[in-house]
Amino acid sequence: MSDTSYGANQDTVVAVRQITKVFPGVVALDRVDLAVHKNEVVGLVGENGAGKSVLMKIMIGLEQPDEGTIVLRGEETTLRDPSDAIKNGIGMVFQDGSLLPNLSVKENLFLCHEADFRKVGILSLRAMRDAARELLKRVKLDIDVDLPVTEISPAERQMVEIARLLWLSQQYGKENPLLILDEPTTVLADAERNRLFSILQDIKKQASVILISHRLQEILENSDRIVVLKDGKNVTEIPASKAKLSRIEQLMVGHTFSADRFKEDEQATPGKVEILSVKNLSKAGLFEPLSFTVRQGEIVGLVGLVGSGKEAVCNCIAGLDKADTGDVFLGERKLPSGSPSAAVKAGIGHIPIDRRSEGLALMMSVAENVNLLVLDRLKTAGFLSPAREKKNAQYWISECQIKTPSIGTLCANLSGGNQQKTVISKWLSSRVRLLILDHPTRGVDVGAKDEIYKLIRRLAKEGIGMLIMCDTLEEDIGLANRMLVMKDGRLVKEIESSSQKKPSPQDIIGLIV
């Protein structure tokens, strides 16, 4: 089935062996092997949560593996931090970019390594300029190197970063550097994308590359070898020439599960009444006009990979962002755009992806967080009543099974799962009609995950509509009544996912890559 050769050969530049990384409650990587040879492009694919980013972080020294080794050019090495990695010729170009916005191109290229250009302590701008232009030739870039980087295009910025990494490895005498490109095409327009890939062939002659992209077609066309990860484990490795798109899709998601992990048999039938109605909503650069509805008690899953625009859609509905066109209706009422307070008042709840920085007031108690939205209801004679607050908090703590020593415990002292339940109960307490759940079980241990699934089922039975985005396709399929598939900013398909007839991940994956 799989033609594997995790082993290294004399051409191997970098290899990781049996890498395991565990976070509390989650096994991010389970004995993963990866070898990159000289002058090759390895395409790394996998769903969100497959472990790609953790693996890359380990390879550039941002994280340490719990088990396993890193082998560089035949020798076992430890990478304590990113500068260690750079010194060993491993560098990564992140999606957001790591150039200094207020510095010029040439200054960014040579930052912290300007020694060559010094004359009596003073930097020779001309020497830097010339050297910069020479360097950029390696990535076929011809721009004014005195410009601040904010004034060049994202594609050009990427090139500059690649050039810098190439140059740094040269400085450290590493002849075959490894460049990791993390979703480089997400921020690029079509023409720029082609340009990047044509340059990739040139770069290949100077370095090895790991290319991470959710666009399988790009991976197929530009890699020499494709490595597939799933659930933190190696699945397979195929030379690109022998790979077929459909096969890779299968490998990315094929998996057997204990049935009922997502409590499918508790899946409720949605009511007839429409709660949320989105008409022609769009936001330039993020997603194109789309329309859909959510009914009472219905769980609608928004499915898509990086750049699909699903997060932006949810932000517009929740009022966190202003849409360019279109309307959002909750029940009969049209919601004003860009106002979280209007959305909240109407009955939209939003469980954010990052509960620590967006979901809770960590230094305040569980009770205070739970009661945040309903303070007006907990008053007597116009003033907050401690008795009513206590009662409300206790009610929801037991309803959502939040494990806390007392209602006055600071949220910072709860575990991730209980923090998440606190966020959920905050919204439930305010009688939401539509709840947006952004990766509700991220970073939550298995036991708490189970409880959250039960909660979600209960909410559906009570008639609350839900818009959900999950960590994995399985979770989306398992929980949802219906799925909206998005790709590159467009709503491509609506798929039914009733409890009797659940689609398989393979059916969906082809649509989103």
């Binding site: 790591s98 200094l100 916005p101 207020n102 510095l103 930052l111 912290c112 962002d321 860009g338």
Partner: protein, 343 residues
């Protein structure tokens, strides 16, 4: 990640209506560094020239302006570096008072027998620098936000100054520095030339040395700079030290010009210095602006105040005007994208 967009307010309304011109204006402001400042200066000169019927443009008045602007300019050169880093230094008043007290004690005076002469120059630099080192350590070592650390230092130093100086006004009998301060070279006050000289040196350091570029890197994005290998802690401490030393020098010059050293010399220095820095175009968010901006800002503020005085506006109204100018200057130069929610 949710993009927090600016909400509300007249500026945002303008920004939404004319997005292209706003971005263009901003790029323009950044690119052409000092052009808006030169324009403002021209407008001020124009307005007051007319308002005072030409008296404003007399050679004597111009000399006055240059001479008066020099010392605030030097203070501004010291302060703006900490802002470029992304922090701020509110300790000017404390440092100035402490230096003044030492100047009073160590230069020839009627109360004791000290007479260090020109050694007072390195001594002042050292006192200011020492204060800066402590501020820098509080910020980088104890991780206290710079505004709090330097504010606290200001209080501490001011208290020490008054403790040592005991509210006595000491007449400075060694007039060599004072003479230098008041003399003119080819009609231009020497102290203004000195200010320009210091500005040129500092600007050179900012533009052409690694240390200077790292300063801007930290101000641009501290996290990225750190990852790239910039020694953030060391540079921060160095910058605060430099700022303190420059305050020391400026305080020495100020005391000598006044002829009297008192422990209250620092009072009221912070405000005009920050105004000068922001008016000059140094953004509070960091990473933008250099010594030339600081000097130009000081010049503009002095020109403005001089004009107000000539037109006989009450000095206390002047302070109110300065306050408004400060708010406007900060609002215009702030990089909103960096701020998200303001504290």
């Amino acid at each position: 990640m949710t993009e927090v967009s600016s909400k509300g307010g007249a500026l945002s309304w303008l920004r939404e209506r004319f997005p292209a011109s706003f971005t263009a204006a901003r790029t323009w402001l950044r690119r052409f560094g000092i052009l808006p400042q030169i324009l403002s200066l021209a407008i001020i000169v124009g307005v007051f020239a007319i308002g005072t019927k030409g008296k404003y443009l007399s050679w004597a008045n111009i000399q006055t302006i240059l001479s008066l602007a020099a010392i605030p300019a030097i203070y501004a050169i010291g302060l703006h570096q900490t802002i470029v880093l992304g922090g701020i230094d509110l300790s000017v008043q404390g440092v100035a008072s402490l230096c003044a007290v030492f100047v009073g004690i160590l230069l020839k005076n009627q109360y004791n027998s000290y007479n260090v002469g020109l050694w007072i120059i390195p001594i002042s630099l050292a006192i200011g620098g020492a204060a800066g080192v402590i501020s820098g350590l509080l910020n980088t070592g104890l991780r206290i936000p710079s505004f709090m650390a330097t504010l606290g230092m200001s209080w501490i130093l001011y208290g020490m100054a008054v403790l040592i100086g005991k509210a006595v006004n000491v007449q400075i009998l060694d007039t060599r520095i004072e003479n230098f301060v008041s003399a003119t070279l080819f009609g231009i006050p020497q102290i203004a030339i000195l200010a320009v000289l210091i500005a040129v040196i500092v600007q050179m350091v900012q533009d052409r040395t690694r240390f200077g570029r790292y300063m801007y890197a930290i101000g641009g994005d501290e996290v990225i700079a750190k990852q790239a290998g910039v020694k953030v802690k060391g540079i921060k401490i160095a910058v605060f030290t430099m700022a303190g030393a420059i305050y020391g020098l400026a305080s020495l010059l100020l005391a000598c010009r006044l002829g009297w050293a008192t422990s209250r010399m620092g009072a009221g220095l912070l405000f005009p210095t920050i105004t000068a820095v922001t008016v000059g175009g140094v953004a509070l968010t960091g990473g933008i602006g250099g010594a030339k901006n600081a000097v130009l800002g000081a010049l503009i503020v002095t020109a403005l105040n001089d004009g107000l005085v000539l037109m006989q506006v009450s000095p206390y109204i002047q302070q109110a005007v300065n306050g408004v100018v400060l708010i406007v200057a900060v609002a215009l130069t702030l990089d909103r994208k960096k701020l998200g929610f303001i504290k």
